[in-house]
């Protein structure tokens, strides 16, 4: 009995190294498959398109990684993005007469987006840490609230950014630096900063400790509520940032903006190897997860092999597979 207990850990200790590479291998496999199926797949245009579309979900998913790692969950991010987008556009339209079309107006809009995102995240975080309500319930509630608020603000239709402002704002999505689109650059910065924060700062370490066992964290002088609150605020800010990059793409927001983003973000986090029950987070894995999800979409459209309508089926299978693999690891 004691022999088995001694041998087991040695085996499980080696496993994570291999299984951590699983999502990366899947990503490489997808790239090879894509290149094989369609010559255009590796063209700069297509790669830029895939990455830029991934960027919104990606930034949100990086924030979601911290929330989930510390044992929380946020279902409200998709609705929150729509709400932030709506408020941002309304604010810019309202400020237009006073400020005129110009960079200051765009900057003011961005500030509004970040502040609204921060406040929305703060609301979620306070409800979780102060009112002590389950994160699932809190964010299920705020998901409905944000969604209904944007629909109400848009009066059931669409909120559109003033045409002149839109023309000025467009390059934030469509142009870039050194041939790389802005959303991709911003996403890259967010991902790298997130990876460093998770691995090399107290905040990341505390997130893992709280997700692993919040009682131990409390007994170890960790400010559990403060760290939890911070994860939701950070996620809210990143939703604001994602919205800043998203609004110039279409220049409008409606009741259907950001639909199901929350599920895509959560799926990316899980596929990337972050434990859904918390305690272990891997930001680079989340990035890989986001890329896997968008590549599946892209390949299906390009390859004409399977109907793109089956996109959701394939994504669903991958999510379930990722969790099954995770469970196999933890119960070994």
């Amino acid at each position: 009995m004691s022999d088995a207990a001694v041998q087991k850990p040695a085996r499980t200790a080696q496993l994570p190294g291999l299984s951590a590479l699983g999502p990366l291998l899947a990503l490489i496999l997808l790239v090879v498959l894509g290149a094989f199926l369609n010559d255009n797949f590796l063209s700069q245009g297509n790669i830029t398109n895939v990455l830029a579309r991934s960027a919104f979900i990606g930034m949100i998913a990086v924030g979601m990684t911290f929330v989930i790692t510390s044992g929380g969950l946020d279902l409200s991010v998709g609705s929150m993005a729509a709400f932030v987008a709506g408020v941002m556009i309304l604010a810019m339209n309202a400020l237009l007469p006073a400020m005129g079309v110009g960079v200051p107006l765009i900057l003011a809009g961005m500030a509004v987006a970040l502040v609204v995102g921060l406040l929305a995240g703060l609301a979620n975080g306070l409800l979780v840490t102060q009112a002590r309500i389950e994160p699932f319930i809190v964010t299920l509630g705020t998901m409905g609230i944000f969604r209904s608020l944007i629909t109400w603000l848009a009066d059931g239709g669409t909120i559109s950014l003033d045409f002149a402002v839109r023309q000025l704002y467009r390059p934030v999505y469509y142009s870039g630096l050194f041939g790389i689109a802005w959303p991709i650059l911003v996403f890259a910065v967010v991902a790298i900063a997130g990876q460093i924060a998770m691995r090399h700062t107290r905040f990341g370490r505390y997130c893992e400790a709280i997700g692993s066992n919040d009682k131990v964290a409390r007994y170890s002088a960790v400010g559990v509520d403060g760290v939890r609150l911070m994860t939701y605020v950070l996620l809210g800010l990143l939703v604001g940032l994602a919205t800043i990059m998203y609004v110039p793409r279409l220049g409008s927001a409606s009741g259907s903006t950001g639909t199901l983003w929350e599920l895509e973000a959560i799926a990316a986090v899980i596929i990337g190897g972050t434990a859904l029950k918390g305690g272990y987070g891997r930001v680079w894995g989340t990035v890989v997860g986001v890329l896997i999800l968008s590549l599946i979409d892209n390949i299906l459209i390009l390859a004409d092999l399977v109907s793109p309508y089956l996109n959701g089926t394939i994504q669903g299978v991958i999510i379930v597979l990722a969790v099954v693999l995770q469970r196999g690891k933890s119960s070994a």
Binding site: P9, H200, A221, V222
Partner: protein, 499 residues
Amino acid sequence: MAAAPMLELREVRKSFGPIEILHGIDFALHPGEVHALIGENGAGKSTIMKILGGFLPPTSGQVLLEGRPVPYASGAQAEAVGVVVIHQEFNLAADLKVSENVWLGRELGRVFLDHRAMRAGTQALLDQLDSTISPDARIRDLPVSDRQMVEIAKALSRKARVLIMDEPSAVLTHKEVEVLFRQIDRLRAQGVAILYTSHRLEEVTRLADRLTVLRDGAVVRRALRGELTEDGMATAMVGRDLQDIYPARRHPMGEIALDVRGFSVPPLVQDISFTLRRGEVLGISGLVGSGRTELAEGLVGLRPAAGQVFRNGASVHIRSVREAAAHGMAYLTEDRKEHGLLLDKTLRENLTLSTLPRFGSPFISAAREETALTEAIRDFDIRAPRRDMAVGNLSGGNQQKLLLAKTMLSSPEVVIIDEPTRGIDVGTKSQIYAFIDALAAEGRSVIVISSDMPEILGLSDRVLVMRQGRVAGELDGERICEKAVVRLVMGTAEEPAYV
């Protein structure tokens, strides 16, 4: 008594790994008798109960039911033949109703549940117990004493022939204990064989027809009703020389480092006052549930508390572990698996968790953490096969050493150590005692909370005994002796006459 034993252990030995816990136990429960099993914590009582109840197989020896080897290999199978254990941690589903719990696993009715019959059956059982609990109440909403009653009702519904009760009175009020005793008397009259354990010796005197005293995994005394006084029981339970695993104490003591006055941690702990000097080891003794841990957790800000605390003469108000650390106080939890260590994390992450700001800001220096771990492994003799292993895979002793190393990283001046050696082998114990002694020698103040009597006696310069949330007494110098502590812990009588 002439009746043949109902359930019997013969020459039973039990080992966990290389360590033998029970050394050849002979023990028998007779129909229509209450047999009390007493002994200090760790004497082997619960292991015996688990073997009798089918939860553990003996390593060698026989378990006989009515003279034949027992036909069960699990608690559930044992219940099916009428051997029922009432555990200290209740086996009740908190969200189900009383009647649903009573019939759990043996529900009445074929396709659909026969709610009416189960409810009526439960009502009848509760009436038998003179209990006013509603069969429809949720377990969650019941006080602990009522849950105990439900457990007993459940045992009755299983037509128990053998009832094994693990400290049933520990959670009951005086009045409820009386009801419990009447039920035990009634069951005895019906011919049920009953095993009863309790730390309250007066209950043993009142109930037991037969008595077995256990010490260090062996039977040291058997007696029939009236043969042994409570004092005699305590002596038999204790009767052990302190081994020299304890360090030679007596360090010069300095000024008062901690002064606690009228300290309360609601709802249990009331009006505690004591002082602690530099270089002193204060032992806190008392039963589990006497408020020792709550007191400690209140002092370091883990629980809301009221009262005055002075550190080095200055009044302090500590509301969190972080504030406690700022005032040079640290608490080492009794529950290292649930409150002390992140079992799925590595040694390094655990070691530095409570002092992370010292390891670099904004970025944690992994190199500095590794250095700290190397020092901790050396200073505390932590034996880990791999540095990067999950601490859940370490032995209990090494986990405890790591927890000690983690606590000491903040270099606290006042260290409260709760059950320093629970579940730890003797070799590691003496190491931990040496660490504690070294802390005092360095001029730090140490509070040791322990249920292990020899440990309290071997380590403490002074002993504070708690009972039901209050200070039952304080002993120092020559007055520290096992009998005196046991008396205060049990609340048996006034302090004995000392020689």
